[in-house]
Symmetry: C2
Subunit: 200 residues, 2 copies
């Protein structure tokens, strides 16, 4: 019954803007071993302090389009004139090494990855209500009314895909949401474990 | 997106004798809310200190057989002349109230319940190796060699059903096994959560 190292799990974390994905994930990543946070590729310019291969893989548009043609992205999209995508190779390499790989991506991309990789776990992080989401978006104080309205409408669409998600984490109290996401990753290791139990 | 109270999950915890099911469960039950530990029924006599409705439901054989005829057990078996069974009604009542219900039962019964209730989670708690299992069984110091041999042979059969289990918890370090089982229950609440999210 020795436990052999096997492939990790692909875990997609998504949810509406303002749900607190980044905060929840930051805490989970600092507390769990053997988890790799996937780095996206983008054609946008690095901002001051951003490092290639740490914050993003910064690519020319030519290189990005080449990768699209070669089907080297798990998902990709264009957003206000810049391209963003999840390169598939580093994800597969880390899974192969036994790491659980986390993709923190937009709902649209998340659904694309899940369709392509049905074995992936799709986790949706949501605020406890649309009212609270709106408060949080306004609370940032940086968003104009029309931006908030657009984000709210987008959030309603994203929540409509609830049946496609494997797990829902309600981010009401941050500490609970962190423990929920940790539990999902830990439980998945026990599920996968059944393939790694070897009877001596 | 309000979280409404819904039906709990049925969680079957099984594994070979000597795997440490009871110890792991004791810790998990003391740390988690909204969990109900199912009480078995038996025709055997109460031992000193045992209370009806706490340790077991103590039944006459006549009453037990009546319940068998009425199909009122999730599973039942005879063991050295006494009958043991899991009454279905209290399980369903507690699930209905939103509790997660834990059945700690033998592998044979666990497989019967899983066949009857495919929505149940079947968790197998196992020692890290057969060698360690044998040490643990001998370590009790109370078992004759032939009893240990019989238990080891039974354990090997039980481990052969590995594909039927939803989750495997390897009880090597107790604290890790406790956290694994807690994670499985907690993650299941997020899975179920998707049916309880109501969009306002």
């Amino acid at each position: 019954m020795e436990n052999k190292k096997t492939r990790g799990s692909l875990i997609i974390v998504t949810g509406p803007s303002g749900a607190g994905k980044g905060t929840v994930l930051g805490k989970v990543l600092s507390e769990l071993d053997n988890v790799y946070y996937s780095i996206s590729a983008t054609t946008r310019q690095p901002r001051p302090g951003e490092t290639d291969g740490v914050n993003y893989f910064f690519l020319t548009r030519e290189r990005f389009e080449q990768m699209v043609e070669r089907d080297e992205f798990l998902e990709h999209a264009e957003y206000v004139g810049n391209c963003y995508g999840t390169p598939e190779k580093p994800v597969n390499d880390m899974l192969e090494k036994g790491f659980d790989v986390i993709l923190e991506i937009e709902v649209q991309g998340a659904l694309m990855v899940k369709a392509k990789r049905p074995d992936a776990l799709l986790v949706f992080i949501t605020p406890p209500s649309f009212g609270i989401l709106e408060e949080r978006l306004r609370g940032r104080g940086t968003e104009a009314d029309d931006v908030v309205a657009r984000r709210m409408s987008k959030a309603r669409n994203e929540c409509a895909h609830v049946d496609d998600y494997d797990y829902i984490v309600i981010n009401d109290a941050l500490e609970d949401a962190v423990r929920d996401l940790e539990a999902i990753i830990r439980a998945q290791r026990c599920r996968r474990g059944k393939k790694t139990v070897i009877f001596d």
